[in-house]
Symmetry: C2
Subunit: 336 residues, 2 copies
Amino acid sequence: MDIKIVDVASKAGVSPATVSRVLNKANNVTLKTRTKVMEAIQELGYHPNAAAKNLRSQRSMAIGVIAQDINSAYFTEIIKGVENMAYAQKYKVIICDSENQRDKEREYLNLLMDRTIDGVVLIAPLISDEEICQIADKGYSVGIIGRNINHEKIPCVFTDNVKFSQQVVLYLIENGHRDIVFISGYAESTDSYERLEGYLKALRDRQIPFRPELLENGDFNEDGGYEAMKRLFAKNAHFTAVYCANDEMALGVYKACAERNIRIPEDLSVIGVDNNRISKYITPTLSTVNQPKYTMGAILTEKMIDQMNDDVHHDKRVFVVDSEVIIRDSCKPLGE
Amino acid sequence: MDIKIVDVASKAGVSPATVSRVLNKANNVTLKTRTKVMEAIQELGYHPNAAAKNLRSQRSMAIGVIAQDINSAYFTEIIKGVENMAYAQKYKVIICDSENQRDKEREYLNLLMDRTIDGVVLIAPLISDEEICQIADKGYSVGIIGRNINHEKIPCVFTDNVKFSQQVVLYLIENGHRDIVFISGYAESTDSYERLEGYLKALRDRQIPFRPELLENGDFNEDGGYEAMKRLFAKNAHFTAVYCANDEMALGVYKACAERNIRIPEDLSVIGVDNNRISKYITPTLSTVNQPKYTMGAILTEKMIDQMNDDVHHDKRVFVVDSEVIIRDSCKPLGE
DNA sequence: TTGAAAGCGCTAACAC
DNA sequence: GTGTTAGCGCTTTCAA
C-alpha cells in the first residue's frame, strides 16, 4: 500500500501513536484530536496494514475452521455459526476445506503455527486425538466440534450420538420392528462407533438379540449405502427396518430398494441421521436426526475467543447439545 | 511464537539471511549449508512467522473468495475450484460468506485494502460494477465469476445465460409447448435478466407472442417460486410449462402444484437452472441446466494468480464457458 | 556462497 | 492527552 500511519499523522498534525490510539479506540484521546484524525483517515483513504499490525500485536484476529467438505450442509451450517460469532467479535474466519484428506488437514493446521490464525476450530477432524492434544500442549488454541477430547485446554461441542441413536432404534422397536439393520460409517469414526453403540443399547434395552448379519458398513456415502443394501439382499437376511448412520447412506438404500421394487415404508422403514436437505425433498421424505449445527459452531467459537482473550481456563469446557429425532414418511409401524 | 529465524541461524552456525534463503528455496546455497539449516529447522520445530514475512515481502500469498451463501452448492463447487488451483500454487484461500448482504461484502473487501489478501474472487457479487471497477482502478486484484465487467484489469468467467436459456425454451417449444411461464430471480440480478432475455429470444425465434401475464418474479428462492405459482393460478392464466431461473424456485413450483393436484410432467412441464443436487432426488427428477462450476473457479483463479505475479495484462481476460441443458422427468411433449 | 544491516508499518512503554 | 522511540520477525540489498 501507499499511504501509512505517519502520513495520516502528519496530515492531522499529530503523532503516529495518536493515530494508532484512535484506530484502536483507546479512550485517552480528546474528541477534538480524534475528529481531526478521523478526517485525515477519510481524506487519505487510509487502511491499516494488517501484516504490520499482526506482527506488532502478535495476533491476527483470525480463526480458522477446518472442515472435511464445504459441499456438505452439515459443515457449512456449523461454519455459519462460527462465522457469525467470530464476526460479531471482530474476528476474521479462514475456512479451510480439507477434502477429507488427513494431509490437507495437517497442512491447514500450519496456519496456527505460522500465526496466520490465532486459533482453529476443527469439525470432526480426521487426525488423531493425540495429534490434536500435542498441538494444544504447545500452546495453540484448538476447539473441536463433533467429539470429546480429554484435554483441559480444548473446548468441545458435540451431541450425544449414543443417546439419539438409542432413541431412533427404540422408536422402531416400539413400532413393532425387531429385525433392524444398522449401516455404519467408516470404521475409524467416533460418530459411527457411538451410533452403533446406541443401536446395540436399544436392542439390549428391549432384549432383542443382536444379529451380526444385520450390521453393514457404508462409509458414510450414498454408494456405500447402496452396496451395503445389496450385500444384505445377497445374504437373504430378514429385516423390516434400516437405520443408517447418516442420510447419504439412506439415499443409497432408497436406490437399492427402488431397483428391487421394495417399497418404503410399506416393505421397509428407513431412518437416517443429519437432516440433510434432500431428506425433506426425496419421496418418501426421510426420517432423520437433526443436530443444532449452527448453535454448535457458535457456542464453540464463543468459548474459544473467550479463552484466547483471557487464557484463563475456568468454567465449562465440554458442551453436549441435544439432537432431535425427526420422523417423516420413510417409516411406519410394522404390519399396519 | 517462541523460536525464530535467528535461533535457527545460530543453531546451524549461519546467518539469518542464509536461513531465509533456504526457506525460500534460493539456489545460491550449498547443499551442505542447506542440510545444516534444514536439520536445525527440524530439531527446533521452527515455523516462519507469517505476519513478519507478509510485512516484509508485501504480499500475503492468500486470496479471498466472497460468496453469497456457502450453504449453496453453486458457490461451494466454484470455491472448490478456486481452492484447489490456489493450493497448487501455494496460495491460501480465505472463504467469506457474505450472507447475501451488500455490507458484509464490502466489509470483506476490506481484506484487500488491509493487505490480508493479495486478490479477491467475487462470485456473483451484490455490489455494483462501478464499485468493483473503482477497486480495480486503485490497483487491487479482483476477478469475477458469473458476470462480465468491462474493465481491462478484471478477469471474468461466466456462462452464456442468454444462450442456454434460449435452448431451454426452444426445447419446450419443440415439444409442443407455447404457453410457457418464466419465473425470474430478483430484479437487479444480471443472471435473471439475461435468462429472461433468452426466454424472449426463443419465443421470438418461433414467432410466439410474448404474454406478459406469464412472467413472474420469484426472488431466486423456493418460497418465491411457490408464491409466483399461486399468483399465476389466481390469474387463471393458461400455461403448459414453467421455466424457472433457478432450481430453488422450481422446488416452490413443485410444492404449489402438489397442493393443487397438478401433476408434473403430465399437466405441467418444469425446468430449472443450477443442477442443484436436490433436482436429481426429487420426484419427478427436475430438468435443469448445469454450469461447469468447478472449472469456472479454477480458470479464474489461475488467471488471477498469473496476473498478480507478472502484472502484465496480456492475453485473454474474458472466459465464457458452456452450460449444458439436462432433461429429466419433469418435462414431456405436450399432449403425449 | 555467505553475512551485516536496514527497514517493511505498526503498537506499546515510557516520558512529558 | 500526546509524542518519542524501540522493536515485532522477516527479507533483501550490498559488500565481502
